[in-house]
């Protein structure tokens, strides 16, 4: 994923309204883009072409269903590794190769690699984490969530 701030004029006010609206949810109906368009005063084809463009320029990373692993009998687990600097790229490649790694961040700390495992069976979390330990020879610290607080954050586009 790119980490470049778009120039201030990359999005017009309609793009911003559209991004904000689509963070709140997308209709489950036959013509959802037309419905969104009706709300915002755009026609269906413009809604579609704008979303497509926003995806192409990297203003949105995903558009679709967001899954909750726990609700389907699975689990998420935040994990951390202290990776020696000279092995960082190799370890990243090994970790990212697992489809269960949903995201992975380099952070400025002794524990410098932080990733989230998402599995649709809770028992797989330790299996994957153990496998990463075996592949890398490094300890994978595991921080499963005990309690999650309100997640209502929105980026104001």
């Amino acid at each position: 994923m790119r980490r470049i701030t778009l120039p201030p004029d990359a999005l017009d006010s309609t793009d911003r309204v559209l991004i904000n609206r689509l963070q709140d949810g997308f209709p489950l109906s036959s013509h959802p883009f037309a419905e969104i368009g009706e709300e915002l005063g755009l026609d269906q084809s413009e809604v579609i072409s704008r979303i497509s463009h926003l995806r192409d320029i990297g203003a949105v990373t995903r558009f679709g269903p967001f899954l909750d692993a726990a609700a389907m009998g699975g689990a998420f687990c935040l994990c951390a590794i202290a990776v020696p600097e000279d092995r960082f790229e190799d370890v990243m490649t090994l970790v990212n190769a697992h489809p269960e790694v949903a995201h992975n961040y380099e952070r400025i700390h002794r524990l410098n690699m932080w990733f989230v495992l998402a599995c649709d069976k809770a028992s797989q979390i330790d299996r994957v984490a153990d496998r990463i330990e075996a592949e890398t020879g490094l300890t994978v610290l595991r921080f499963p969530k005990l309690k999650e607080f309100f997640i209502g954050f929105r980026v104001h586009a």
């Binding site: 579609i48 558009f63 995201h103 410098n112 499963p144 997640i151």
Partner: protein, 161 residues
């Protein structure tokens, strides 16, 4: 609670993104040899059950100028951690807030709060606010700034697993 094989097919077909066509659910139905009504009904049921949190866009924070983010971590007295965690989670600059187990002796922190802002100074100001909120119930804290996104695909289901 779980999902059946048909639910799984729908999720694996759409997890990389809904098709950008006028009738996206009809398109997914065509791929899977189902009816549009069945696709919509199953998605709606999964949403009711919480398997799908929402159908939406994920904006790219960085692209939109929210470029600084720090994972703030706090060692909060267990007796009040839930109550204080809820207060931290309700702050409008906090995107994710969790209680997690400590990993002693390396890691004394049990409350994780992701702080966002346009620059690092803004994030540090938010951090000061959280510190004030936690007060004497917090023994020690740290913040881990992100240097790089290494992967961001979201949860992926294995096909037919």
């Amino acid at each position: 609670m779980s999902i059946d094989a048909t639910d799984r097919k729908i999720l694996t077909a759409t997890q990389a993104g809904l098709p950008l066509v006028a009738e996206p659910y009809a398109e997914v139905a065509r791929w899977l040899d189902m009816t549009e009504a069945e696709v919509i009904e199953r998605l709606a049921k999964m949403k009711d059950r919480g398997v799908i949190r929402r159908i939406a866009v994920a904006p790219n924070h960085y692209a939109l100028g929210v470029v600084a983010n720090g994972m703030s971590v706090w060692d909060v007295d267990d007796a009040v951690a839930e109550e204080l965690g809820a207060q931290v989670g309700a702050l409008d600059f906090v995107s994710h807030c969790y209680l997690r187990p400590r990993a002693l002796p390396d890691w004394p922190y049990n409350l994780f709060a992701m702080l966002h802002g346009p620059d690092r100074d803004a994030v540090e100001a938010h951090r000061t606010e959280v510190r004030a909120l936690l007060g004497a119930s917090c023994r020690t804290s740290d913040i881990l700034y992100s240097a790089r996104i290494l992967k961001k695909t979201g949860m992926r289901l294995a096909e037919g697993a």
